[in-house]
């Protein structure tokens, strides 16, 4: 194998591949990046759950395939200062040459490197990169970090007529983001494991195309954009019919400035100690809306929030993290906190923003 290519393109591809390549695999070739220079130049990596294939521009002088450990290759390319890089195979090694530097990397037999099934028989839908990214980022923090219950450890994506809906929940809170997409056809829904969801946003941040292609079947999804194909396993589980838990009626409502809430929660975090609890006392008739946090070690704080209030009096406690995490996904300046009463979930929305819905359960006391 003998190829010449642009360093920048190569580096970008290597860095993306490195993230995907297996970390602690018993098969050494799975921690490698496969450089395939048979039909054009492409780089591949997989950890068996996900896989990536990236085509890069360059000149193929001699066809061939070689596999080298991902971390070593990325370290090498990173340190190169020249604009172009020449890669060639020398016996069982990869020789990297650029502007006077020469590096020899020991290659690994690649016969056991699996094929990455990037071509799917299913129809490819074209999606705007922005909305896909915003949708996943808007809800991913609410998914459970464990895959013990696959549906809760995943992001649920549904294609509706004219919109795409992203939902995630770890059963303590739930985030739903709707991205309008005119021309979207009703399609089937997929569950993307959180880890792959985060990987997708990371990828989307690094591609330039306006639109990306997505195709899914029961077992996997394929994301494609400008010569890049990303494949990951999807979960074939049932997502709970979450609409049922959204309260229909509310007993108390408070509209506050988002920044006030953010500041209050930041302070409350300091004073709440290990518990991370914050209590709200909302008395609409007396026009009182106070947040209280205390711990025996630090002290206590009590903030009164400027708010438009209505409904019944209410004392209710929440976990600070659960409240704070959703606020960055709300684009409007004011947020509406709609309480359904003690022990019932609180609904948070941006004022005049119907695209985002957040549900959080109070503490049990």
């Amino acid at each position: 194998m003998k190829i010449n290519t642009i360093k920048e393109k190569l580096l970008r591809a290597v860095l993306l591949c490195e993230r995907i390549a297996g970390k602690k695999e018993s098969l050494p070739v799975l921690s490698c990046i496969l450089i395939d220079a048979v039909k054009g130049i492409s780089l591949r990596a997989t950890n068996l759950e996900a896989g990536i294939e990236i085509h890069i521009p360059g000149e193929v002088k001699e066809k061939g395939v070689i596999a080298v450990p991902a971390t070593i290759l990325s370290q090498t390319i990173r340190s190169i200062t020249g604009d172009t890089v020449a890669l060639s195979s020398e016996e069982e090694n990869l020789l990297v040459e650029s502007r006077g530097t020469k590096t020899l990397i020991k290659a690994i037999p690649h016969s056991e490197f699996p094929a990455i099934p990037v071509s799917s028989t299913k129809k490819v839908i074209s999606l705007p990169r922005e909305s896909l990214m915003r949708g996943i980022q808007g809800v991913s923090y609410a998914a459970s970090l464990s895959m013990i219950r696959p549906d809760l450890g995943s992001i649920y994506v549904t294609m509706k007529n004219g919109s795409i809906v992203f939902v995630a929940t770890d059963s303590f809170r739930l985030a739903e983001k709707t991205v309008l997409e005119p021309g979207m056809k009703e399609g089937h829904d997929i569950l993307v494991p959180l880890r792959h969801g985060n990987e997708i946003t990371h990828l989307l941040e690094r591609v330039e195309d306006e639109r990306v292609g997505l195709s899914t079947d029961e077992a996997q999804l394929v994301l494609s954009s400008e010569g890049l194909h990303y494949v990951s396993r999807v979960v074939d589980a049932t997502f709970p019919n979450y609409k049922e838990i959204v309260p229909k009626r509310f007993s108390t409502e408070a509209t506050v400035l988002k920044n006030d809430l953010v500041e209050m929660l930041r302070k409350a975090r300091v004073f709440s100690g290990n518990d991370q609890h914050v209590g709200f006392h909302i008395y609409p008739k007396k026009k009182i809306c106070t947040a209280i946090a205390r711990s025996n070690d630090v002290g206590e704080m009590s903030d009164s929030l400027d708010a438009a209030l209505s409904g019944d009096d209410l004392d209710i406690n929440f976990h600070i993290g659960y409240l704070a995490e959703c606020l960055s996904s709300i684009e409007s300046d004011s947020v509406v906190l709609s309480f359904a009463g003690p022990g019932k979930p609180l609904v948070i929305r941006g004022v005049s923003d119907q695209s985002f819905l957040y549900l959080v359960m109070p503490l049990n006391r």
Binding site: E25, S26, L27, P28, L30, T46, L48, E49, G51, E112, P114, A115, I116, P117, S144, L145, S146, M147, I148, P150, D151, T169, D170, S171, F172, L174, P193, E218, A219, Q220, V231, R233, V235, D236, A237, T238, P240, N241, Y242, E244, I245, D275, Q276, H277, H319, Y322, G343, P345, L359, M361, P362, L363, N364, R365
Partner: protein, 449 residues
Amino acid sequence: MITNRELWQNALVQIELGTSEASFRTWFRNTDVSNRDGGTIHVAVPSKIVKEWLLEKHHKLILKALRSLDNTIRTVEYVVHRTAPSADRKQPRETPQQNASFDLQSLYIDKRDNLNPRYTFETFVVGPFNQLAHAAAKAVLERPGLAYNPLFIYGSTGHGKTHLIQAVGNYFKKSHANKKVLYVTSERFAIDYINAVRAGHANNFKDQYRQYDVLIMDDVQFIANTEKTQEELFHLFNALRDSNKQIVFSSDKHPVLLPGFEDRLKGRFSGGMIAEIPEPDVESRTAIIKAKLEQHGFSLPDDIIQYIAENVRGNIRELEGVLNMIVCKSQLKGKAISHADVRALIKHNVKPNKGISVEEVVRRIAQYYEIAEKSIYEKTRKKEVVKPRQIIMYMLREEFAVSYPSIGEKLGGRDHTTVIHSCEKIKEEMKSNNALEQEIDHIRALIHA
């Protein structure tokens, strides 16, 4: 006959000898046999990448290993796990313990077939009372479409009809991945039909329902008196049955006693197998309580279980409610729950046979027969009043042990011999008339409700 799992374990031993250790660990970790369909073995693998690899590189080895164990095996197919546990099973992060969580448990309904995966045979408690229905359902699963078609399950609310028929659907779905199952309530069916007619594509509706291999319709009694919907069901039934597709119905009454149904439909309901799920007996209730407690990961002393089983009569749903209450209470108190606590908790669920007035009995039975309450007390001897009146007398005597003279006196000053005669008559008639026996059962449930 060895099980699929054993077969695969034995095959893996041979495969391991034929590959390197690293390669074996990488490609055969988390694999299993998902099911066997004649000579075809379906091997479940964690991802599509693994699937392609096995197909390309190890297919011969796998087939050889399997065939050496069982020479009837012809082919091997690879499927990606439906919900494969990923290789890493990270412990969930510390969750704030006092935070309440959404009750999602009841919301898992697969939109493709409306089945709730919670209802399975594993969680279905079999007792003497539902043995027949359970056996019939199992027989249906062994030879779908052929054994009993349709399978008709009936019984009062909360006796486990829905659980049983959904379990049939879930089991079928699991064992025949390529077959289509649909669970639908009769109400949903009616709404779908009306919507289809309104939108002007009734034909789509027909095609849509005819594509299923197993159709499960819950609570058929709700489409009583809907002529067109019933006609549609009739045609659907014929179409499915003719192509040996399995149909399962549930209802609260025996098909013959379903009011507001056309005879031809009733006849078809009765054409397969009819199984009743009656009220659970004490032993079954004990078993159910134990099973439910296990699901909660909770335990109670035997004497308390016995006490609940004997005293909380009525349906299983109610029993579940009582148990939830007990579990919740004991978690709140943080210590074992005593006999007295249980007694206090379930006092509202214990139904004494006394404590319901004669007037109330009359009112409910009159309502059941849709006649004026006061006509019972009058001297009228119209046929439609006489029978209910006799049944009232019988019920008062049998269920509440009211004396003959006082029954007579309360029902418009009748002689006690009239009452004795009425009771005897009903008793006698029940021996030969199944329909009457059914009616009495329903009335009994109504009075104790």
